[in-house]
Subunit: 319 residues, 3 copies
């Protein structure tokens, strides 16, 4: 897999799409987090920033949480939002993705929110559309989930004040997780050097050394210094690759009350959701005092509002 | 089944949710009917009352009519409306209802419209959400359908001027009908003492005496004094419990032109819809001069607008 | 099949519905095209023309392209748009179309966008609804697709300046094509006398002579004088009626680079979409310099905005 990571920037290095974390600067991320804070702290939930703009969601993979937050974010910015029901669409079945995209582009849409099971699809679409459309990656294959990473950074900053000297542990199937990859890249850009990954060895990427992250094959020893513990959702269908039963997974990597008690007192526990209670995380922890899982959901709205409005403002619109 | 009927009121006895008719006062109902009349009689169909508010519909049972009226009512109040497609959602399948609710709550939704096949689900949700969300019951199991009852009261008041001295007959499966239960409770609060229920004996609740309603096992004798006849939709799958064939049901309880001719000349005929023509009601009657069935549909919009805006205005919103 | 073509006009011959092209005058069409141009050329994508109006889409046949353009058009006119999900609706299954229509009418909808596989359904609905609702035909059976024809006229006028002395060729299954029929009728009203139809003989209507169009049984000789070539989508399930294989169809009627080279240099190539690449049209042509296919898509929005706002302005609204 190789992706054109430069495609999301214009000649002034401003964002014209939002496709992945790679090549973002600390400034890019800080600008997003600052604008998100503005949207989150205003009295009103309604803004006029994207009035007259049309945003289409193209989810080739099912989703509720992410799709709903993008729809809410669009509406709170006063954009016209349209959901292309790809899974139930019959007309589109015979049509290539590219023909569909070109058709929507011709309808004067300003932005597509794209989720696809094939890594790189949003980049491919961005490379094919004209200068008047922006693409937001809402998750592509095992590659990237950049808006999730941004809402996670927002949540960390809110609770920890900043990123310098933080110790972050990520637990689960790092190999297949687009969330984990986008988080690690974001943390590195923000200067976080102590990153631990924890999970079955078979579910770790080959390039751990290159990533400069520490590997632990059990929660013990992996979370005791952590300021932030990020749990990943267990994909049960991946377990055969991990050569591990769900019971053993829970024993080694499930976050329980006893295990979180071995970490720092003010550690925050994160999870992209939806959570598998009693599998990768116990209810005691998910609903406990260290959990900031619902804060992540809340951040998802204002962070996506920030990304969408930044990208559309940077873009030069020609009718 | 036991429900916390106090949960929908704040300390000043104002509505903060709308879950059932029980414990409502005549004042509560009159306030709803008056506000509904305001919305119905204004020149414009567009109001700014809920601008900036977010309303999510959570229909765990399929519905078109009720869901559509809530969506239209939300839009006419300028709220952002979002439909959570639970039946087609795959992500949510592994998630508990409570996790889904907490997630939507974290997205700063202001109101959930809930329909569920299990009685009491809206009360359970109302007991679990925080102080910033209002729940509207759009029908729960065999328990309650309070917005339907309110639109029926609106329709009766419109055509009969008021409720004192009215004689009302309700025909069909009272036992399983959430509509019938909410109507009877509403009528009693409004001072209607002459209520007749008509239908197969096996489809009557045990507490008819306690309810102080009169039972008739055929339309004859049950509707001749009625000012209002409310037909219920026949649920064909209940007929085996009633030990009655659809043919015999029609013969005894189907409302025909001949039968309505035995009632008062100015009787109004109501039905919550969708109607089974030729089963519980003939087209001659459904489309005839005594029918106010489409008036009920019209009332459904303004009554739901009234309930939604009342509840959201009463609620103390903390961001 | 016989349809009441007068039903779409009021006593002043203004449009109160938009059901078919028959009986339209050149003035009617020019008014639509002029208003569409206004919407297309304004700086903004957002207009207040239909604020407070409610538009419901009723697609009994699946569609993405047409439904999406109507939804976008409605939103850009600031109408409240509601999609009745007929295919997934369970409540409506037991309900007749007429009961559903009457119910939506009672909800104070102002306009229905109707697509149905049975020819004449929009006319039937228009004959049954009251004076406050307008019906737009979004395609009925093999009969009519008038908004498609209007967007095609818009596209032709944009590229050719006008209609006098034009030579237009339409290629494909004319017999079953509602698009072809509406286009031919429109062209005749606009004074286009040289119309060629090209396709398998079995897929031609009986009344070619009456229509005063010339028939060709191959692309050669049919497109060499054409200013406009309109390709129709091949419905593979019709091929057995045509007694022709898809391979032979492509050989005789598929538009290739070589074949378009035999036409005028400035010929424009149109297609209602979605296209079957390599079946009725090659990618070389669909994406080539003569293709205006994406212009048609763009025109679809402003033309539908024009039709919807004209019809609703003509209609006398009584609440």
């Amino acid at each position: 897999m190789s992706f054109d990571y430069k495609i999301q920037f214009d000649e002034e290095n401003k964002l014209k799409h939002f496709l992945n974390i790679e090549l973002l600067t600390e400034n890019h991320i800080n600008e997003i987090l600052a604008l998100a804070k503005h949207f989150a702290t205003e009295e009103s939930n309604k803004f006029k920033d994207l009035e007259g703009k049309t945003i289409a969601s193209l989810f080739f993979e099912p989703s509720t949480r992410t799709k709903t937050t993008f729809e809410l974010a669009s509406k709170r910015l006063s954009a016209d939002f349209i959901n292309i029901d790809i899974l139930n669409s019959s007309t589109l079945k015979g049509e290539s993705v590219l023909d569909m995209i070109k058709t929507l582009e011709a309808m004067s849409c300003d932005m597509f929110i794209v989720r696809h099971s094939i890594s790189g699809t949003p980049h491919y679409i961005a490379s094919e559309v004209g200068n008047t459309i922006s693409i937001i990656n809402a998750g592509d294959g095992t590659h990237s989930h950049p808006t999730q990473a941004m809402l996670d950074m927002y949540t960390i900053k809110k609770h920890k004040g900043g990123f310098k000297n933080l110790n972050v542990s990520i637990v689960g199937d790092i190999l297949h997780s687009r969330v984990a990859k986008s988080i690690i890249t974001s943390l590195k850009i923000l200067g976080v050097n102590n990153i631990n990954v924890i999970g079955p060895e078979n579910l770790m990427p080959d390039n751990l050394k290159e990533l400069k992250v520490s590997y632990h094959n059990s929660l013990e020893g992996g979370i005791d210094q952590a300021d932030v513990v990020i749990m990943l959702r267990l994909q049960k269908e991946r377990m055969h690759e991990a050569l591990i039963s769900i019971e053993d997974y829970y024993k080694n990597f499930g976050l329980t009350k006893n295990k979180i008690a071995t970490a720092k007192k003010d550690v925050i526990v994160m999870h992209p959701g939806p959570i598998n209670r009693g599998v990768e995380i116990d209810s005691d922890v998910a609903d406990g005092p260290n959990s900031v899982i619902l804060d992540q959901v809340t951040a998802g709205i204002s962070v996506r509002m920030a990304i969408m409005s930044l990208v559309l403002k940077n873009k030069c619109f020609k009718k």
